[in-house]
Amino acid sequence: MRDVWSIFKREVAAYFISPMAYVMGAVFLMLSGYFFSVILLATHSASMQGVLGNMAVIFLFIAPVLTMRQLAEERKLGTDELIMTSPVSTTSIVVGKYLAAVCTYVVYLVITMIYPAILIKYGSPDMGPIYSGYLGMFLFGAGCLAVGTFSSSLTDNQMVAGVVGFGLLLLFWILGWAGAVVTGPIGDTLANFSLLKRFDDFQKGIIDLSSVLYYVSFISIFIFLAVRVIDSRRWS
């Protein structure tokens, strides 16, 4: 646990020393702010529903960029030779790095809470869907970042890691459309695996335990895969 903390601290510092966290944050907040303003002006309703949905899609594009550096760069620069020969388990390394990305994401999310604050100041929004929406946002984003961490473990090339991560996320997004195209149990099953489809319930104010479990297992599986990929390098 202490090892996770050490890795986590260094990684968060790396995010905030480099322009990465700021640039990605600026892009994310600019687009979120745009959607918030436009949707609010168009609907005049004190609700975050459409806004959170759009924020989720934006973050789907941001997540792979945020995580592509993580493990790929260690390998490129040879610093993996330090951490992999330290008395620290591979799981601690991957989890520490992953949590640092999640932490950066949470910082972004906290900043976006200006929007509900504005709604509360000038209107009386129904808080339930906002709370559950943010919980969903957190789980959804954490899922995207897990995919990003995993794809960063695959290569020493950041661009490749970013593109692979983006491709995987896109796949988990469009699986949701399968429900509309393919009818019957196959379509439903595919749609159940969609990252965004699950998020819809949270936006409406429904916290479905199975959806929470889905995100938690989704994250665990990709972190586990990243650990295995890194560990398997010893055998190459």
Binding site: D3, G78, T85, P87, S89
Partner: protein, 326 residues
């Protein structure tokens, strides 16, 4: 302290290291020699746990590097060929991070980082960002990292590569002084360096052990043949002929790339049959003709010669093995 047994590492079909066996005693400085691509780095990476062996075992202080990885890693300080540095960090921040990774308790961290920084000579740049440091300083920061926590074993992969001559001398001195308290494996392709610092040398070529001995033992290994350099002020063709006729002389060659030959001097390399001393005979032979000897010295086989000979012998054997089948 370190026991390597039948270590084999294959990269796909290519072999990295094959059936390598050697041991390093506590407090010993072992020089690991071989041409580029011989398998030095692979072996070191397996000892440190960065790579897993295809077969064979490595034990450090009685612990298996694979089974008890955490135990062995705690005992090893490792400097890879490219120092593993985070460029955006300061030297101090970096050393603090590594001391956390190595599990040095918080109360001792400060003392550990400053003593490692001092030992490696980076205390002057402690607060500078690593990206702005020179190659020599980065190498030292890498070394400081390996020294953190005072590990019993130090594995240093080409520690002097890329340094200027003054830095090389300093690093060698440092390693030598570290040898009093640590067990060290040091790889290099520079032979004098190894004969200077190490108690024992292991030579590998093509992933296989070629020789393991003290630097002196290796030099003396060459069948007792002696070599003498003689510089004579005399005729270029007759002087060697005369020496060749002496008993005990195996061969005489004239060193043609010698500047002094223009002054009527000739430099001869005399090889003797056995350990017999022919220096007096040479002196009298030359004196009888009135050709003054201006210089005479015995030439020790350098590690370079040993190395070349051992690795070429190996190649000849290899070819001999292959030939019947081919």
């Amino acid at each position: 302290m370190i026991e390597v047994r039948n270590l084999t590492k294959k990269y796909g079909k290519a072999r990295g290291v094959e059936e390598l066996t050697f041991t390093v005693d506590k407090g010993e400085i072992l020089g690991f020699l071989g041409p580029n691509g011989a398998g030095k780095t692979t072996t070191m990476r397996i000892i440190t746990g960065y790579l897993a062996a295809t077969s064979g075992t490595v034990k450090v202080d009685g612990f298996d590097v694979f089974e008890d990885a955490m135990e062995t890693r705690r005992r090893i300080g490792y400097l890879p060929e490219n120092p593993p540095l985070y460029r955006e960090m300061t030297v101090g921040g970096y050393l603090r991070f590594v001391s956390e990774l190595k599990g040095i308790p918080k109360s001792k961290r400060k003392a550990a980082t400053s003593s490692a920084a001092e030992a490696a000579g980076v205390d002057a740049v402690y607060n500078r960002v690593i990206a702005n440091l020179s190659r020599g300083y980065r190498q030292r920061v890498g070394l400081a990292q390996a020294l953190l926590g005072n590990p019993e074993v130090l594995i240093l992969d080409e520690p002097t590569v890329g340094l200027d001559p003054r830095q090389i001398i300093e690093i060698r001195k440092l390693i030598h002084s570290l040898g009093e308290r640590h067990t060290i494996i040091l790889s290099s392709h520079i032979l004098p360096e190894v004969s200077m610092i190490c108690n024992r040398v292991v030579i590998i070529n093509n992933g296989r052990l070629v020789a393991s001995d003290t630097p002196q033992g290796l030099s003396g290994r060459l069948e007792g043949r002696g070599r003498i350099a003689v510089r004579v002020r005399g005729p270029k063709d007759e002087a060697p002929k005369l020496i060749r006729e002496l008993t005990g002389v195996a061969s005489v060659s004239v060193e043609t790339h010698d500047l002094a030959t223009e002054n009527g001097e000739v430099l001869l390399i005399v090889e003797t049959d056995d350990a017999s001393d022919v220096r007096e005979d040479i002196f009298f032979a030359m004196a009888g003709r009135g050709w003054p000897i201006v210089e005479m010295k015995t030439i020790d086989m350098s590690l370079e010669d040993v190395f070349l000979q051992l690795t070429t012998e190996e190649r000849l054997e290899d070819e001999a093995e292959v030939a019947p089948g081919a």
